[in-house]
């Protein structure tokens, strides 16, 4: 059953990643995202039903959930014709990570953790949702920098590619971060409560996560604008990548 759901999800996302390359096929791409997302949602549902405990606590499992969250955020914010280039950025990344999740066994059923379900749902769920938001904000910021440069350089084809206005990209990126930071806060709180209960000490990964939280928190307080805001969001995303890679160490071991 899990096998049956993985392939349609990958096919949907893959079709979207290719179809977003051409404006004429962007509608088909949007349907690919929707179909793929439905199949992956069902896949996660089956994993949850067949696993005794929280099924996405492993590195590969969390990657599977992360891909679903990124695509969900994209479906909510950016799945519109003008955001075709955002799809072209997000969907190939989603396909690549989804394949990595499968190779690492994260799309299988039956994997579980010794940690309690509620803790994992709160901690892993919120942190991954926040990371998905930061990923989308970084993609939006990348687009902002690219389009701003084209406008500054007075590219003659600047109106040919249907792009969202700079103002919209900046606003959307800021809003996404504003939603993601409280999620990261909740995820961190859950983690620290658990840490205190177990009497464990803080590891390097947790320190990095706190630094990331501080970085994005400062972003919301300082409210940088224009290119500065875009570079700040991309800088924060570098920390997210480091954290994702560090998770391959055994944070939950």
């Amino acid at each position: 059953m899990v096998e049956l759901l993985f392939w349609p999800a990958l096919l949907g996302y893959g079709e979207a990643a290719l179809a977003y390359a051409n404006a004429r096929t962007s509608r088909a791409a949007t349907w690919g995202v929707r179909v793929g997302w439905l199949a992956q949602t069902a896949l996660l549902g089956v994993q949850a039903a067949r696993t005794d405990g929280f099924p996405w606590s492993s590195w590969a499992g969390s990657l599977n959930l992360f891909v679903w969250l990124v695509v969900s955020a994209y479906l909510i914010w950016g799945c519109r014709p003008r955001y075709r280039l955002l799809g072209l950025t997000v969907m190939p990344l989603a396909v690549a990570l989804f394949v990595v999740a499968r190779v690492g066994g994260g799309t299988q059923a039956g994997h579980s953790s010794s940690y309690g379900n509620l803790f994992l749902v709160l901690h892993v769920g919120f942190v991954l949702a926040a990371f998905a938001g930061f990923t989308l904000a970084a993609a939006l910021s990348g687009l902002y920098i690219w389009q701003e440069r084209r406008l500054k350089r007075r590219a003659s084809d600047v109106l040919l590619l249907r792009m969202p206005p700079l103002g919209s990209l900046e606003r959307l990126s800021r809003r996404t971060i504003a939603v993601a930071v409280p999620m990261l806060t909740l995820g961190l709180i859950a983690g620290f409560v658990r840490l205190r209960t177990d009497g464990d000490s803080i590891d390097a990964l947790e320190v990095m996560t706190v630094l990331t939280w501080l970085g994005y928190g400062a972003f919301l307080v300082v409210r940088p604008t224009g290119r500065n805001a875009a570079y700040a969001a991309l800088g924060g995303f570098v920390l997210v990548i480091v954290l994702r890679l560090a998770l391959s160490g055994s944070h939950f071991a």
């Binding site: 406008l151 007075r154 109106l159 206005p165 103002g167 606003r171 604008t225």
Partner: protein, 399 residues
């Protein structure tokens, strides 16, 4: 029924001739009514008469009367599918001076709604309106700007998004500058200041656009209060320099310099958050987007061709529909007559069963010939098949 078109347009007639045959909406409707079942589409670029009838003598005479001269060599005439194809291209904006312009669709609608048409014109105009809408939604032909002034407004929207509430400083009273200001205002921007060498002229412009009049040398003092600057003076030297731009904390400033020689110091473009476009930049953007329009126009032509085929199929089906109706009526007549012979010999329940069974047999027998005739109608054989059916089933006398 025959769909005919007679008309002239910017492609074949000079403006001196077109202006003589251009009619307002009421006059166009009156002319259409004088021709019987007709629609008159009259804009600054074309005057066309679409009518149901094979003879175009009266339509040509009407146009020549308006022109006051013979229109031989200028008028074009189209029949049936060719006329429909022409109308669909017109409604899609493909026959316009600027491919994809959107105003023509409203003009086609107005011409159609000004008169009451018979079934042929009603169908072809309804389909033309739907073709126009389809082309606009399924292609990007109408989205890119076609003039320097509209490109300036589109670029400003690319920076700010919604222009509602954005404040504009208009410097100088150049014609293209005014058009750019008009375009910005039509997108919701507010003309906050008008600066000119003579304040009196600035005041005249504020009557039209609103805002506060300023002397030219005070333009730099309000740069902190605006989001867009449009400059088109005849000044020989720049009127704004990079040093005039105040600290804006990355709040973007979009500057359009339409003047030659240029009004705005080129060094402004290097300031963070400042986007400076001069007339050459804008013309390059327009020429690129017009090229983009041509690509979209190819897609639009495909849609129009598809719709013309649909019209063709509809027209062809009209030829076989009477034959199909006669055939079914004849079959029903025979069935009813045979059932009538059973009156008093069967019970009500038996009668209902017989009615149901005979109706089913009749429908099954006639289903395939009906489908085949409709299929043949789409090709060229519709009339021949219809005649054959009439002959074989003795329906000729009903024609």
């Amino acid at each position: 029924m025959t769909l005919s078109l007679v008309g002239l347009s910017h492609r074949v007639a000079p403006v001196e001739l077109r202006e003589r045959v251009t009619l307002d909406r009421d006059a166009a409707a009156t002319l259409a009514r004088s021709l019987g079942d007709a629609v008159c589409l009259s804009t600054c670029n074309r005057t066309e008469l679409y009518f149901d009838g094979a003879s175009d003598v009266q339509a040509i005479a009407s146009l020549e009367e308006l022109a006051g001269e013979s229109l031989d060599g200028v008028l074009y005439r189209r029949l049936e599918e060719d006329a429909a194809l022409h109308l669909f291209r017109v409604a899609a904006g493909l026959d316009s001076l600027v491919p994809g312009e959107g105003e023509i669709l409203g003009q086609v609608r107005a011409a159609f709604e000004a008169v009451s048409c018979g079934p042929l014109l009603d169908h072809v105009f309804s389909q033309a309106l739907s073709v126009g809408k389809r082309v606009r939604t399924e292609t990007a032909i109408g989205e890119s700007p076609a003039s320097v002034s509209s490109a300036a407004a589109a670029l400003a929207a690319q920076v700010f998004g919604d222009l509602a509430g954005r404040r504009v400083l208009l410097i100088g009273a150049g014609r293209i500058g005014e058009l750019a200001a008009q375009n910005l205002a039509s997108r919701g921007a507010e003309i906050a200041f008008v600066a000119n060498r003579t304040v009196e002229t600035a005041k005249e412009l504020t009557v039209r656009f609103g805002g506060r009049p300023l002397a030219l040398d005070r333009a730099a003092s309000v740069l902190g209060e605006v989001d867009v600057v449009v400059s088109s003076t005849g000044a020989p030297d720049p009127v704004l320099f990079a040093a005039d731009i105040p600290e804006r904390r990355h709040r973007p400033l979009f500057l359009i310099d339409i003047a030659v020689p240029r009004d705005l110091d080129a060094a402004i473009a290097r300031i963070d958050g400042c986007f400076l476009y001069d007339i050459d930049d804008l013309e390059a953007v327009v020429s690129e987007t017009l090229a983009g329009r041509r690509v979209e126009a190819e897609r639009a032509e495909e849609l129009v061709a598809e719709e013309t085929l649909r019209f063709q199929a509809w027209r062809a089906s009209l030829e076989v529909v009477p034959a199909i109706a006669s055939l079914r009526a004849r079959a029903e007549e025979i069935r009813s007559a045979e059932l009538a012979k059973l009156n008093g010999r069967v019970t009500d329940a038996e009668r209902r069963t017989l009615e149901s069974v005979t109706a089913q047999i009749m429908n099954k027998l006639l289903h395939l010939p009906t489908v085949r005739m409709k299929e043949a109608a789409i090709g060229a054989d519709g009339a021949a098949y219809a005649d054959a059916v009439r002959y074989l089933f003795g329906l000729e006398e009903e024609r």
